[in-house]
């Protein structure tokens, strides 16, 4: 009887989780974003793991490892964020079982004893702890072993399996959870069985390590087809944080950037850090402080889009309009896929100076961050433009000639994006190394980033309008603060970051001319950003003066 009740409670929890997942993926744009995850995983992970396995591409090189880490983290973070899983586990669901919407207790007097309730919660926590312990143990093993695969075919197979399994995980999970939705009474037992299986695997692993000795166990684990890829990811994450940094300045750079990155990750996962508290994600409208959905009567989609256009591209100003083009600004302002992207990127910026990336493929490593930023911005604004172009009334309904708004406001953004891309490309091409390989890499990275940016730009433009509609216009100073902020300060900080990065690069002991060149490029990009920022802000002020009707709502 007690176990039956526990299963009922667990089923309640899983149903809630399923509901959250379904709600997270309710909108087509969310599903599109999930498709982006699949794209990122299958495309880029394969790329970085030797889709071109010849002597010119070393899958163990820093660049390839970095690529795997970047896109693995990106995809995983996006998947988790889109599915709402971290939020379910961390907040909003009350107990781990989600039994109390207020996070206290069951609010209904159910005929279930408190002991049974406690056991159900304990069991679920145990399952979660075991799952977490399993993940951490794999990570620890990776750090300890520092083993990397060298056999390209095996690597290729692992990469493929890893990609497929990672891609399949959200889909399979969705089906499992939909099973819960179907009212199948065996679902509770099935989920318990899954959790029990995880426990068995972890316990077996511990026993194996104890019986074989750590070294042998690590080697076996690292070389086992089912675990190699996972170990690599763990190693890469660990190395990205710790690296092989001997100099205090390098440590500082890594620590500072790491903290920023960590905050970004945690925010992306739904932790309400103050920096991002109240920000509303187009992917999670209820995140942050949240407002009651007591919006005014729902206007049409077009009108909402107009509002969004105004809010994002005028109220928020160049934070989105212009400089956000330099990438993660928008990501930080709206918990977006750019969040996880910014994380490995920032880590990389620190690690590139003194880390494992000072290898023969440094030219590629240096190409990536700037090019990614430029391309992302280009794609992002392109997507936004297309989304708006699909509804031309948005432009024409604005005071003054809509085209004037379009050209004055939007044109500089993709231009800056492309400019940044080429600014990164040129020094990279000038660096010593295989020209063909560099071009190849550039060609491969470009469409990926363009695609991401495009999807995000279009999706955030459209979905943001829905967010705005859900929330209604800010009715107080506090709400206005919590709304996508009207200031453009978010766009400003990219400037010192770029300049600081350039200075750090310039200060590298014994820096060769390529590094100095990159430093100059970074500083120049910062200055260009600042100029663009000021210019777009001036344009924004000029354009928004006759637009009080939205702001006053």
């Amino acid at each position: 009887m007690r176990w039956d009740q526990i299963r009922i409670l667990h089923e309640l929890a899983y149903r809630q989780l399923a509901g959250r997942v379904r709600q997270s993926l309710e909108r087509p744009a969310d599903r599109v974003a999930l498709a982006v995850i699949a794209f990122l995983l299958t495309f880029t992970v394969l790329l970085f793991n030797g889709i071109f396995p010849d002597e010119r591409f070393d899958p163990n090189a820093g660049f390839a490892r970095f690529g795997r880490a970047v896109f693995g983290l990106l995809a995983l973070s996006m998947a988790g964020m889109l599915l709402g899983l971290p939020m379910s586990l961390a907040q909003g669901a009350g107990t781990p079982l989600g039994l109390g919407p207020q996070g206290e207790d069951i609010l209904l007097p159910l005929p279930i004893s408190s002991r049974t309730l406690g056991q159900a919660i304990l069991l679920e926590r145990l399952y979660l702890a075991v799952a977490l312990a399993g993940t951490l143990s794999v990570l620890a093993v990776g750090i300890e072993s520092r083993l990397f695969l060298v056999d390209v075919p095996v690597r290729f197979a692992f990469t493929f399996l890893t990609s497929v399994s990672l891609f399949a995980a959200p889909v399979a999970g969705g089906h499992i959870l939909r099973g819960a939705q179907s009212g199948n009474p065996t679902v509770g037992r099935a989920m318990e069985a899954v959790a029990a299986a995880i426990m068995v695997v972890v316990i077996a692993w511990v026993v194996y390590v104890l019986s074989q000795g750590p070294q042998a166990a690590v080697a076996a684990f690292a070389n086992h087809p089912l675990t190699k890829g996972l170990i690599e990811t763990g190693v890469l994450v660990a190395v990205a944080f710790t690296g092989t940094h001997a100099e205090p300045a390098a440590m500082m750079a890594v620590i500072v950037l790491g903290v920023v990155a960590l905050l970004a990750v945690l925010s992306g996962l739904g932790f309400p850090y103050r920096l991002y508290e109240g920000e509303v994600s187009p992917y999670a409208p209820q995140q942050g402080r949240g407002f009651e959905r007591e919006s005014p009567p729902t206007p049409g989609w077009l009108e909402r889009l107009e509002k969004r256009f105004h809010v994002d591209y005028f109220d928020r100003g160049p934070g989105v309009l212009g400089v956000s083009g330099l990438a993660w600004t928008t990501g930080l302002r709206t918990v977006s896929p750019v969040f996880p992207l910014s994380v490995p990127l920032l880590l990389f910026l620190g690690n590139i100076l003194w880390g494992d990336f000072l290898s023969r493929d440094i030219h590629l490593a240096m190409l990536v961050p700037i090019a990614v930023l430029g391309l992302w911005v280009f794609g992002h604004t392109g997507g936004a433009i297309v989304a708006l172009q699909l509804q031309p009334r948005v432009l024409t309904s604005l005071p003054g000639p809509g085209k004037r708004v379009f050209w004055h406001a939007f044109l500089p953004v993709p231009a800056i994006g492309l400019l940044t891309y080429y600014a990164a490309l040129v020094p990279a091409l000038l660096l010593p190394g295989d020209l063909l390989l560099k071009v190849l890499e550039g060609l491969v990275v470009a469409p990926g980033m363009l695609f991401i940016g495009y999807i995000h730009g279009a999706a955030s433009t459209v979905m943001g309008s829905e967010t705005w509609e859900h929330m209604g216009a800010p009715r107080s100073a506090e709400e206005r603060w919590a709304q996508p902020p009207p200031s453009f300060t978010g766009g400003v900080w990219i400037v010192p970051v770029l300049v600081l990065w350039g200075i750090l690069l310039a200060l590298v002991p014994g820096a060769q001319w390529p590094v100095v060149g990159l430093a100059v490029a970074a500083i120049a990009a910062g200055v260009i950003s600042l100029i663009t920022l000021r210019a777009t802000r001036a344009a924004q002020q000029w354009l928004t003066v006759p637009l009080p009707r939205y702001a006053a709502r």
């Binding site: 309640l12 809630q16 989780l17 399923a18 509901g19 207020q102 609010l107 005929p111 009212g183 009474p185």
Partner: protein
Amino acid sequence: MLAVHGLSKSFGNVHALTDFSIRVRDGEAVGLVGPNGAGKTTALRCIAGIMRPDRATITIGGHDLHRDPVAAKSVLGFVPEIPYPYPHLTVWEHALFIARVFQIPGWETKAERLLKLFDLTEKRDAYTAALSKGMKQKVMLLMAFLHEPTVLLLDEPLYGIDPRGSHSLKALVRERLAAGASVLISSHAMSLIEEVCGSVSIMTRGRIIASGTKAELRERAAAPQGANLEEIFVKLTEE
């Protein structure tokens, strides 16, 4: 039958309930009224077993809540003051959950009927997070009535409810009364109390200061013959 004797509850130095006692017989509905902060909600939460009293003897349907809470709660229906349905469950899943917990045979038919009564049929597959507060309250009512409890505790049951829902709720309460259930309703809606409840208990500052039928309370308040419950309440709580 519902019997509460000597219920006391304190929050630090604040005595929310002091020696609160009430008895609701089978087939009887009792109204619990009082000013804001009188302790009505605290009393109902203690009786429902979701808040631990400092001391009390509470019997629900013949089961001692302290000694046999599962049996006591199995015959209890409760509508909390503020509706908090599970935000990520659909309306129908709420019914399913309750049906499984209370092991209700033939629950689908009963749930369908309640959905219809509360105009929730179209919202059957909607997540409650997306419902209005009135709709959420209807979901809570559905959950409270689905297992046909023999003891009902309703805390501001008309919260956000439209007139049709109000009408359905009163009909359901009468139906439960006819089946021999004991109903305790806490509400500021005096019309609901007058319409449904045979007797009323008035409480202030954690104590019941007057109980009885409307006529008995009128007499105690020395109110004029035509005074309604609201006027009687005002007079009694002025003292």
